[in-house]
Amino acid sequence: RLTERLEQVFKRLRGYGKLKEHHIDEALRQIRVVLLEADVNFKVVKEFIAKVKEKSLGERVLESFTPTQQVVKIVRDELIELLGGEKSDLIFSSKAPSILMLVGLQGSGKTTTAGKLGKWLRKRNHSPLLVSTDVHRPAAQEQLKVVAEESGLPVFSDNSSSPLKVCFNSVKIAKREGYDVVVVDTAGRMHVNKELMDELSILKKEIQPTEVLFVADAMTGQDAVRSAKVFNESLDLTGIILTKLDGDARGGAALSIKSVTEKPIKFIGVGERYDDLEPFYPERIVSRILG
């Protein structure tokens, strides 16, 4: 854990008497290891360490009686600031129905999250409609039907082979039946598949969602920056949902994704049931990342 590592460093440094600026590098190395082991991206860690060094020297931690506590506080505060910031509520349209689009890599948890989001919305007196535009994965439409059934939500699906047609039809239904939010589940795809990424940006352009939420797996390693960057450049994401945080992944991907997209992490997935969705609190993930 970070505190233990830093205590060892400063204990050793105490033997040197008056410390020079370069002595802080020993402490910074430990912070770097903790963040890399937590899967924070290499380049993100580099930038972060530079900020921590500047702050630490500015606060003269080398002359402090409690350098460990001071450095840990600097690291925690800096991480919380990076991960928090703007309020992360869902954005709705003034003209119903609002459309929330879920996008991401294969298997990240989009379809399950659609059910969770629908349940979350209904608890807050919305009238959500789930829609599957996944015409590719075997039994994807059936999966969202079961998700809807298990979470007590309405679902629209038609055998139209075009995601765009399905979306337009679902919006027609929503307007007619009085649903005020349409949650659009999309097929998982690789950010390097140009054709599928184009399909998604065309879909976004046509249905004009108020939310484009990137659903990402919390156990993602260094690649988190690459996929998040491409999805963001292609779709101008409005938010992030980090899933499978009920495991023991440290979740450094949160910092990587936030820093490369600068978009708010709005929710976290903490299980396979449809109640397992929580708003994102920076403090909690910071404690995880720091071990």
């Binding site: 890599l105 994965r137 260094q222 690649d223 690459r226 023991d248």
Partner: protein, 279 residues
Amino acid sequence: FKGKRAFQEAALEQLEEILIEADVGVATTREIIDSLQEKINKEPSLSGSALKEHVKDHILSLLQVGREAATQLPSDALQVVLVVGVNGSGKTTTIAKMAYQLKEEGKKALLCAADTFRAAAIEQLEIWAERVGVGVVKGKSGSDPAAVVFDAIRAAIARGMDFLIIDTAGRLHTKRNLMNELEKIRRIIGREVTGAPQEVLLVLDAMTGQNGISQAEEFLKFSGVTGVVLAKLDGTAKGGVAVAIARSFGLPIKYVGVGEGLDDLLEFSPPEFVEALFS
């Protein structure tokens, strides 16, 4: 001479960055870089490209682990393949690809839909089975997966099958009750067929970070694991955590998934994998 030292230090830093960014992890990277530093101390005139070759060789030697055991003796017994892994890693799709390959090789394969929990999991495997042209044994959704496995084994033996591939529900390795369930499934398999399961494949998403190591550790404990399938290697993730897993547990990578189609499963090639790490 000072220029050479600075150059080598820069080369080591560059190599370290490549390894970390490939998800090889801090500990394994440190071991590789330390051993490289020792080489430099013995031969101070090593070039940048020579250093890179040494790193590649080091990783290749780590990946050679467990590969001697890869040659399986021909057996008349039913070959049972148990497929495990965390949620969404690519198990069901990998099974479809394996069934397709076995069929192409003229083998008789039967599938077992032992994910009785997740929405439309059984339907998903059924559609794949139909596309490949193999049978699938299933139970009612929500029923005991162990019972479905039992039925599938009996059916596979009765129908004279060569292979039985068992699809299990994704589960986080931290969930004790789910891991116990897997242990029970393994016991049942071993009780019904001597020496089975002959293959337990851990399907790992190539984008997985260091958490992959604890995944491997836990699945090894509860279900046993004979090899890793690195799925979704057709993205930009390098799958370097598989190197850390090889080093920590001696687990070989057996296959890689490179797409969502039936023919998108390849036998693992260590040299190709290592080349890709540096591309």
